[in-house]
């Protein structure tokens, strides 16, 4: 399985985490206020790119996420812009209360990077996977929540973060994601979803790697005469209510796809908006109440129904439901 192949997307050699490391280094070069807080995973998250060039602005706080978040928040209080970087699973689950008080409730300007989001870190298994990060972040008011879908939006999101008022969460990933957007003049506005494919029969709303999978699915559906709009919901909060309402009213059916638990993730939040704005048939592709096991990322996606094929099946179903309604 090759993500983005059916949609004809250009593949990227670099895993998204490497793209993140490059983006962070670029930002650190241009913004001397940027400091990086690492939970001893800089070589995995690629935050270490900054360590190599700006060691004085890089702090490995060690395997102590609570302290990591607190020290980062203190650096914000001292006038710096902290990027607090670790695996989303360890960071959010170990230091949720610290993020809640010192970052969210205090409304500081800071970015939390949840690396290795979803199940595609693969072989290290479920203890390391961040499958509940969007739900956890959703439980913290004041956070802007961003899930980049390709190298260009990762660069754009990291660059945009310090200009966002209040705290920001950006999800990073261990696997490469194909190019959806050009690297120059990338269309990326926080809180504004991108229509990456037009269509009138249904809308596939995705975030992260599921945007590429959604484009693949749309290509397959097109062969069957079903034209899908694909919406890249790169910002989970603030949510682009207008784009979702338009998807409902203009296409009449919605499939949500995310590399996350169905509970509390992108799809359940989209459903709340759809229910209020314009109820239409919906289907959801995501993890169903389960911890997955170790395995090759692509085998896992297949086993747990997170592929373009699964989006295609959901698309057929939701169009049928729309016609029956």
């Amino acid at each position: 399985m090759q993500l983005g192949k059916q949609a004809g997307l250009k593949l990227s050699d670099a895993p998204l985490r490497n793209v993140f490391g490059d983006a962070l280094l670029d930002l650190a070069k241009s913004n001397p206020k940027v400091v990086v807080l690492d939970g001893d995973l800089g070589n995995s998250t690629k935050a270490e790119y900054v360590r190599n060039e700006f060691p004085e602005r890089f702090f490995n706080i060690g395997i102590a996420e609570s302290n990591l978040v607190g020290v980062g928040a203190g650096l914000a209080g001292a006038g710096f812009y902290p990027f607090i970087v670790s695996f989303s699973s360890f960071l959010l689950c170990n230091a949720y209360d610290q993020i809640r008080l010192a970052v969210a409730m205090s409304e500081i300007d800071a970015t939390i990077i949840g690396s290795h989001g979803g199940i595609t870190l693969g072989k290290d298994g479920p203890t390391q996977m961040g499958i509940e990060d969007l739900a956890l972040m959703g439980g913290l008011p004041t956070f802007t929540i961003i899930v980049p879908s390709d190298p260009a939006t990762m660069h754009a999101a990291v660059k945009a973060a310090p200009d966002i008022k209040g705290p920001v969460f950006i999800r990073s990933s261990r696997v490469p994601m194909p190019f959806i957007y050009p690297m120059e003049d990338t269309p990326f506005e926080v809180g504004k979803a991108n229509v990456v494919r037009e269509g009138t029969d249904l809308t596939i709303i995705g975030c992260g790697m599921m945007v590429s999978a959604g484009l693949d699915a749309a290509a397959v559906l097109a062969e069957e005469g079903i034209e899908a709009r694909v919406l890249d919901l790169h910002t989970i909060r603030p949510m682009d209510i207008g784009a979702i309402a338009a998807a409902a009213s203009e296409t009449g059916a919605i499939v949500c796809a995310e590399e996350h638990l169905l509970q509390g993730g992108m799809g359940s939040n989209v459903a709340r908006v759809v229910a209020e704005e314009n109820p239409v048939p919906m289907r959801f592709v995501g993890l169903k109440d389960v911890y997955v096991e170790s395995g090759d990322p692509w085998d896992l996606l297949k086993k747990y129904n997170l592929t373009a094929d699964d989006i295609v099946a959901a698309g057929r179903e939701v169009v049928k439901a729309k016609k029956a309604a």
């Binding site: 978040v69 203190g74 008080l101 409730m105």
Partner: protein
């Protein structure tokens, strides 16, 4: 600038008494709060804010060069607010809105909601990490401020305190001063009975800290120790002052009853407390 203000020890003791009275009025009026936890570190806070220790500007609360004071034991919020108001950060009338709807004088401190409130605390164990962040930031920015963190004893049961303690020694945070309000009680009872901290001095020493012990109600001793730790800053060793205190200090029947944790005095009790505090004038 208040930092150069010098008060006599008698004046400082009177200042401390005023803070105790304000804590009493605030919590009794609110009908809730933590008077006994606020009374045990009164002399420490008095020494910091009114004994010439902290460098701060009430009319410029976020002055980048200011010394930081982080109230890690957030339930002593009434004391923090009283001290800030006496220091000139805001009108004393604000104090009487403690815990009211729409009031910025929150039950536990929220960062930036009142001028001078440096940190959001109340879920315990978090303040020392924040203090270390301020230290590292100050170092990076080339500033020479000091960072004081007031810890409760109960919150030293939290792992994050020891994460921060370990990291502070690693980063040679000589300008980080923790003051531990060792009043020997946590919410449900005596610390020694609930979950013992001793040997506390050895624990901090083994984490690389320089440990000082004082009578936390002796303003002269507190001040001289705060002066001493300033001089030790260049050693790069983080400093902790273990202040032996009495929970509820200043009001005999509160000192004798640890269940006043999280409980305000009612009107009759407040009258008795006022009489006791006035008698020490």
């Amino acid at each position: 600038m208040k930092s150069t203000a010098t008060k006599s020890y008698d004046e400082l003791r009177e200042q401390a008494r005023q803070l105790r009275l304000d804590v009493l009025e605030m919590t009794t009026k609110a009908g809730s709060g933590h008077p006994s936890s606020s009374w045990s570190p009164v002399e420490v806070v008095t020494a910091l804010y009114f004994g010439g220790m902290l460098r701060y500007r009430p009319d410029e609360p976020w002055w980048p060069e200011r010394d930081r004071f982080i109230m890690s034991k957030g339930h002593a919020a009434p004391l923090l607010y009283a001290a800030l108001s006496h220091a000139g950060y805001f009108e004393r009338e604000e104090l009487w809105r403690l815990r009211d709807v729409g009031s910025p004088v929150q039950g536990h401190p929220i960062q930036g909601m009142m001028p001078g409130v440096e940190a959001t605390t109340g879920s315990l164990g978090q303040g020392l990490s924040l203090g270390l962040g301020h230290v590292l930031g100050g170092r990076l920015a080339g500033k020479n401020y000091r960072v004081y963190v007031l810890l409760g004893d109960g919150e030293c049961e939290a792992g994050q305190i020891w994460e921060a303690a370990m990291a502070a020694a690693h980063f040679k945070a000589g300008n980080l001063v923790a003051i531990l309000d060792y009043n020997k009680f946590q919410e449900t009872g005596p610390i020694s009975r609930e979950i013992a901290l001793e040997p506390l001095v050895d624990k901090w020493k083994s984490f690389g800290w320089n440990v000082h012990e004082v009578n936390g109600h002796d303003i002269e001793e507190v001040l001289s120790t705060l002066q001493l730790v300033k001089q030790l800053e260049a050693t790069g060793q983080p400093q902790i002052i273990i202040a032996h205190t009495i929970k509820g200090k200043g009001v005999s029947f509160v000192e004798a009853d640890f269940t006043f944790h999280g409980r305000a005095l009612n009107a009759e009790q407040a009258e008795l407390a006022r009489e006791e505090l006035d008698a020490t004038r």
